[in-house]
Subunit: 314 residues, 3 copies
């Protein structure tokens, strides 16, 4: 199993691997624009979504189809029948691995993807594990910055919203540690601040960061505004949630104060954190970002199926 | 976007377009009978069913596969994850359009398909929007009449059942207005009569119609009996429903009073409105009608993907 | 319809057919190992799961894809929309048969597959009908014994657990009646003993069997230990269930008392009836068994689509 290429967490990627991945994503964009290729007519990808995520699942399934492959999937996490019957994740994965060439998995528990990879006979891609990681989202976020700016070194990024439960923020922070002179401003309500273990990682990697609760103060200085959704379902109580919701909105007024070439990103779906009146602004890059998800996932599938052999995270 | 070909409502079709579509459907029947073709090996159709409809979804997905294409889908309307998270339909469509070449959509709200088409970068086919329209069903209904009778001009059709909430009846009425000397008898309980806006449309188009609550009186004179299901889920209260249910059944006795070459249609599923003892009668055309749905949908997909450029309804 | 090849129940198979099927499964293993073939690029298989079973569905869908075919499916049994609307199974099947070349069906009611086959225009494979039969599971069980031992004649098999509601045990018993000198030990709690009609069938076919509630006593003598899950959802009450649960576990101690070349099978999922500490033992064959499911189902699909014409069970 040790020779399989899994995508489990953001920390497994170094700069060289990122450069290679982004180069591949760029080629994939050309492939997709030309309508796809029949590269893997016999390969089967399983999408195991123990937690529903239509957008992420569609993105992966579209990526596999654009590469000419096949998909078997379950969209209905909570009704995964053998889990209801008491089966362990390990048993499920052992068997599904025998029916497919690649497993894309979303799960409710931190570390689930790593547990899956440990017993799987085929590559596993983590499509989100609870409040743990969501590496493919962070990779497409980073790819978008690279594509829009031509590079990532020296960027000043404001990450806004629920920084405790927002796993994409964690994964993206880890990835950014591979670049030079990056500066991160974590902007959040007090009750959903960035976790200590993320800050410790950044300190180890000598990444400059600061914490703030004043989004306006950053409007004129940051290059990237990475907005996130206040995830109701991740909050322990409704009280905690109502304290956090709606405090850090990106609207017309804020955008007007931004740099000319600033970039507004959001992993989507949004629920009001970015006002729709901003959509037409060229700095609003979130729909281009979602589209980039297709190319990054094509590139990752290619690496998993194409024989890349560099070991997983673990 | 204005050059994309969307299928949003019955009113967008004129006679010439219907003739062309039915000609294409006839060819598609030959294609399907020969087992399908590999016309769109790289094309992806998204089926977004915000409201479950297994039969309609299967019909579209089979049509796409018979044309050699690919499908990504969600069958689980109410669990569409980003909608739960508060995403607008417009955001969802913008992103899904980036992952596919065609969107087939069923939604609970009137006008949803039109809203989707307004922001979609790819063609949208309305597979039913609330109590609004269901144009592809009406097209296959009409195609069945054309196929069985050799033409539609001069036909006398009785539409029976829930005419308030039965959206296929509305769509079919609009389509029939393209033909000459058509006569429509709307037969329904008092509390679910045909809406005024449908009648006004028919008057504008000079289509002869009448309202009735006596199905037996029409048995010997109508050419087509278009039976519909009393849709429990569309009634505001259980009381309203029980007043309507089961009053207008097509049974052996009624069929015996019909013309020799009459046609019994039903959009299906049925729940007792047509007695199964009628199934073996050659006039019972509802299973042939369901089969025609495959050919009509193949023809519509072909028009959407094949570059037909004649603008949508709006 | 009478010339279609359906897979409805274990009793439809005689020894000659089993030999042929197992020969085909062996070839399919080679096909799958080489990555699959494009044998049915235009064929569509419908998976109608009125009761969720992710594993079984994935196994069939993977099998169809490995043969180059296409799949349209529903994973969400209880939400099958036309059923909710009151449609009969017969109506559903008539229509789905018009959209596909093969129907794989799991249902909650005994006899549902046979009812479907009676009206279907395409072959039907029973993927489990209530507490009735699950023939494809039994076929893969039997194939595993044949593959591991080189033959089935003379085998002594202990079937353990819920023998009343465990439909695979019934189907496997019927299949075993085709072989010589087979001996079956039914090991179960008193309240879930093997049904009388299964015993009567075995007596008619002169198969030696016994009933027991002492698993340990058989440890040293049986060749095959066919463990099953105590299926909570099949028990009429929680009381009945708690009486049965957990009484017949296969653990390290029991395995140590088994013959050197004994075989431990389980249709999976398991929920504790086989201790995971046993997984590494070469006698633990349940994951190899699950993998064999792919090959058996490829062989069955091949028979259904490839023109095998020997009539169904009925």
């Amino acid at each position: 199993m040790s020779t399989l290429y899994h995508v489990l967490g953001a920390k497994q990627f170094d700069r060289e691997q990122l450069d290679r991945l982004f180069g591949s994503a760029k080629e994939m964009e050309q492939v997709a624009v030309r309508g796809g290729i029949q590269r893997y007519p016999n390969k089967i990808m399983s999408t195991l979504f123990f937690e529903a995520s239509t957008r992420t699942r569609f993105s992966f399934e579209s990526a596999m189809h654009r590469l000419g492959g096949r998909v078997i999937g379950t969209e209905n996490a909570s009704q995964f029948s053998s889990t209801i019957k008491g089966e362990t994740l390990e048993d499920t994965i052992r068997i599904i691995a025998g029916y497919s060439d690649l497993i894309v998995m979303r799960h409710t528990e931190i570390g689930a993807a790593k547990r899956a990879a440990a017993v799987s006979g085929v590559p596993v891609i983590n499509a989100g594990d609870g409040s743990g990681e969501h590496p493919t989202q962070a990779l497409l976020d980073l790819y978008t910055i690279q594509k829009e700016f031509g590079g990532i070194d020296g960027v000043h990024i404001a990450m806004i919203g629920d920084l405790t439960y927002g796993r994409t923020v964690h994964s993206l922070s880890y990835l950014l540690a591979n670049y030079k002179d990056v500066r991160i401003s974590f902007v959040s309500p007090d009750n959903v601040r960035i976790p200590t273990y993320v800050k410790q990682y950044l300190e180890e990697k000598r990444v400059a960061y600061e914490e703030s609760s004043d989004l306006e103060a950053l409007a004129g200085s940051a290059d990237v505004f990475y907005q996130t959704r206040i995830q109701k379902e991740r909050f322990p109580s409704l009280e905690e949630y109502s304290k956090a919701e709606g405090k850090f909105i990106i609207d017309r007024k804020l955008v007007d104060a931004m740099k000319r070439n600033a970039l507004i990103l959001h992993p989507l779906p949004r629920a009001g954190e970015i006002d729709t009146e901003v959509d037409g602004d060229p700095r609003a890059a979130y729909f281009r970002q979602a589209q980039n998800g297709l190319y990054i996932r094509m590139a990752l599938i290619e690496q998993c199926l194409g024989g890349e052999r560099q070991g997983g995270e673990g």
